[in-house]
């Protein structure tokens, strides 16, 4: 019997079989050759302490996904690399937090390390790493994950976020802040479309700020971890970062209230509610950090996909300067030093 192509079934079977074998060889061969060698530096050549203090305060960053650090005084200087790989990292107090994707279906791991990079705790999570914070004392760790709406046929970019908090001292784990009792504009609030992201801690290791979106608003919320509550403070504030003295919040504000138009880095004074737009005019999609009381730093992506860490004065004056090239996810040990 001859088939669609005029060939016998047997001939077609032979062609299909050989093609399958050939394509399998190509695919497997490529996969095996793509396997990366031991590129991540390991062994004794590595300075294991990412935040060696001999030269003063350091900035911890991720260099191409590798946990590393540079001197705050000389950020262009030599970079200490570790053997730790993270997608987001943050160091404060005696704690280093590290979020690592485990597989492409959204399994992620939060690894809590001490200064010597020893693993203290490892927590399996679901979602894609987005934000990570450690409170100044090193006790509290908070993260934000994107949870995919699954399948790229569901249009509209239906991402939702989840923010969780770990108290490393008591071991108390809150997988989602959304479960806390919410108060919006003074009234108890419940909504299924609630998303929380971008936690930042106050000095008491209990109060925190974050963004909560619902019904088209992006509220700044103030939370109480022990009481499991949060309330809205103001609107239009995303990815807050509390200043070392606890009086101001650096954040990103959607341009014209529309995130599709990008974000402007700004600072809000909590007492007066006055807001000042910073001198960085490019769209910043990051949760800024405070280098000290006068300067904030943030990651910014170049058009080729490389990230740099930039710094800009926190009062709207001056202009942005590049702090660390080819790095993202910055944190600084001891703001104010």
């Amino acid at each position: 019997m001859s088939g669609p192509s005029g060939l016998s079934l047997r001939a077609r079977g032979v062609i299909a079989g050989s093609a399958a074998a050939l394509l399998a060889v190509v695919a497997v061969g490529y996969a095996v050759s793509a396997r990366p060698g031991p590129s991540a530096p390991t062994g004794s050549s590595v300075v294991a302490d990412a935040t060696a203090r001999d030269g003063g305060p350091r900035i911890q960053v991720l260099s191409n996904g590798v946990l590393s650090s540079v001197s705050l005084q000389d950020p262009g200087g030599p970079r200490n690399l570790t053997s730790q790989r993270c997608d987001r990292a943050f160091a404060a107090g005696d704690t280093i937090g590290c979020l690592r994707p485990v597989n492409p279906l959204g399994a992620t791991r939060l690894v809590v390390l001490d200064r010597a990079l020893r693993e203290r705790r490892s927590i399996p999570l679901t979602g894609f790493p987005n934000r990570l914070r450690v409170s100044a004392s090193g006790r509290m760790v908070a993260w934000t994950l994107f949870i995919d709406g699954h399948s790229y046929s569901s249009s509209g970019g239906g991402f939702s976020t989840r923010a969780g908090i770990l108290d490393t001292r008591t071991g108390t784990l809150t997988e989602s802040v959304e479960g806390f009792a919410a108060t919006v504009n003074g009234r108890p609030y419940q909504a299924a479309d609630m998303n929380v992201w971008g936690v930042t801690f106050a000095d008491d290791d209990n109060r925190f700020y974050a963004t909560m979106s619902s019904g088209g608003h992006r509220y700044l919320i103030e939370g109480d971890f022990a009481a499991r509550t949060f309330k809205t403070v103001t609107d239009g504030v995303e990815c807050p970062s509390l200043s070392p003295d606890g009086t101001r919040i650096a954040f990103k504000a959607a341009v014209g209230g529309d995130p599709a138009r990008g974000w402007r880095l700004s600072v809000l004074d909590l007492a007066t509610r006055a807001t000042v737009a910073l001198a960085e005019s490019r769209s910043v999609d990051d949760q800024a950090i405070w280098l000290n009381e006068h300067t904030v730093a943030y990651g910014l992506q170049r058009s080729d996909g490389t990230n740099d860490v930039w710094a800009v004065p926190a009062d709207g004056t001056g202009g942005p300067r590049r702090l660390v090239s080819g790095a993202n996810s910055p944190s600084v040990d001891d703001p104010g030093l």
């Binding site: 088939g3 299909a16 994107f146 479309d193």
Partner: protein, 423 residues
């Protein structure tokens, strides 16, 4: 399991051939098309599974940029489906047009590789992939109808959709395996996905028969004649029914989010919801198709809507815990199984054979456009009135769709029914 039917000389089995022992059999051509779909879906779901991670972690795109890539050019793709349908009818080469569609999607996998970190280039690759899907769907479904006696259309579509579902089910698993072998290098997934897709195209070329039929009189079909499809009452009704089906569908993401919210389930379980639905869909697609052939396609389609309404009601209702999760996933799978292929089986006999591909593309387009509209509306309703109100809207939309479809398609649901009078 269908190997014996592959070597059957006649692709289209006559009604007399289906004895008791052949109950599960479909024509060799449908089996070949199903195999192509299965292989292709392994390939495309491999990429779908890793794309969020690749874009967000690999390329460090913000969710906003991901959303832009994700939603890229959906409208253009829908239009291309119509073009593909019309082209396939006009040149009488449905296999060739479907092949171009499958080929385009295969090449798009290499496009991801070539795009590197460029968001624009990745958007282009996503577009090419979707354009390929748009091009091939209607010609493929038309070939299924032309390879199957009208009385067995439901089963043929059911078997095809089951094979399709199997591919979608194992695609993500293959992607995980490739990543494990390749030490988490995404480009290996794109290369493997291309190889799998290329194999699918080869199976199409080697094993799928075209049904060219008689050459259309005086050369080719004009767009005006294609537009004449709209004058066939049955076609119009099928299009309206498909649009209603789309409007009553709020989208998987919403259903799973509601479920997770109700159950406050650990995030680790969340991805398994989609797995549960596709498992129930692929297991039920063939039995539902066979049932449609026996009791009629309209009752089965309406039953599918009924299952959908039950899903919405259960999300509103008092039952909770694992019974709720299992019931929702099974019912949601029943909804897909009872409507996806069955709707095509219901609509196909209403189309004149020479314009069947165009007609099926019209029906698919109506459904797709209405679905986009309904998910936007449902998202807004959720935002402004809350999830309960949005769910009530969905129940109402489903109810209207059932009643309207019953009225629209009553009397033309019998498998043997042919084209209604042209007005």
């Amino acid at each position: 399991m269908y190997l014996s039917t592959i070597s059957r000389p006649k692709p289209a089995a006559g009604p007399g051939e289906t004895g008791r022992r052949r109950r599960g059999a479909v024509s060799a051509n449908v089996f070949a098309l199903g195999t192509v779909s299965m292989v292709t879906d392994i390939s495309s779901e491999m990429v779908t599974a890793i794309l969020p991670l690749y874009l967000i972690i690999g390329l460090q795109l913000s969710p906003a940029a991901y959303g832009a890539v994700d939603g890229a050019y959906t409208g253009a793709t829908v239009l291309l489906g119509l073009v593909g349908g019309y082209l396939a009818d006009r040149v009488r080469r449905r296999k060739a047009v479907a092949g171009v569609g499958y080929g385009l999607s295969a090449v798009a996998k290499l496009g991801f590789l070539a795009a590197g970190g460029s968001v624009a280039a990745i958007g282009l690759a996503v577009t090419a992939d979707r354009a390929g899907k748009g091009l091939r769907s209607a010609p493929r479904d038309a070939l299924i109808t032309l390879s199957t006696p009208p009385a067995q259309l439901g089963r043929a579509f059911g078997v095809h959709r089951t094979m399709d579902g199997v591919g979608a089910f194992i695609g993500p698993l293959v992607a995980l395996a490739v990543l494990a072998v390749a030490g988490q290098q995404y480009d290996a997934v794109f290369v493997t996905s291309f190889c799998v897709a290329a194999f699918g195209v080869l199976i199409l070329v080697l094993f799928v028969r075209d049904h060219r039929g008689p050459v259309p009189q005086a050369g080719s079909l004009s767009p005006r004649q294609a537009a004449g499809l709209l004058r066939i009452a049955g076609v119009r009704r099928a299009m309206i029914a498909a649009a209603l089906l789309g409007l009553a569908t709020i989208g998987d993401g919403f259903v799973y989010l509601l479920l997770r919210h109700r159950e406050n389930m650990a995030d680790v379980w969340f991805p398994l919801l989609a797995v549960g639905t596709s498992l129930s869909y692929l297991l039920l697609a063939t039995p539902m198709g066979a049932l449609a052939d026996r009791v009629g396609r309209l009752p089965v389609t309406l039953g599918g809507y009924g299952a959908l309404i039950l899903v919405y009601l259960m999300l509103l209702g008092p039952v909770g815990g694992w019974p709720l999760v299992v019931a929702v996933l099974v019912l949601y799978g029943i909804f897909y199984a009872a409507t996806n292929g069955v709707l095509m089986a219901l609509a196909a006999p209403l189309m004149p054979e020479r314009l069947r591909t165009t007609g099926l593309a019209l029906v698919q387009t109506c459904q797709a456009v209405a679905y986009v509209g309904s998910s936007v509306f449902f998202g807004a309703a959720w935002q402004f009135w809350g999830p309960t109100a949005a769910c009530v809207f969905a129940v109402l939309a489903g109810g209207v769709a059932i009643v309207a479809t019953a009225i629209l398609l009553f009397g033309i649901n019998r498998p043997t029914a042919t084209v209604e009078a042209t007005s």
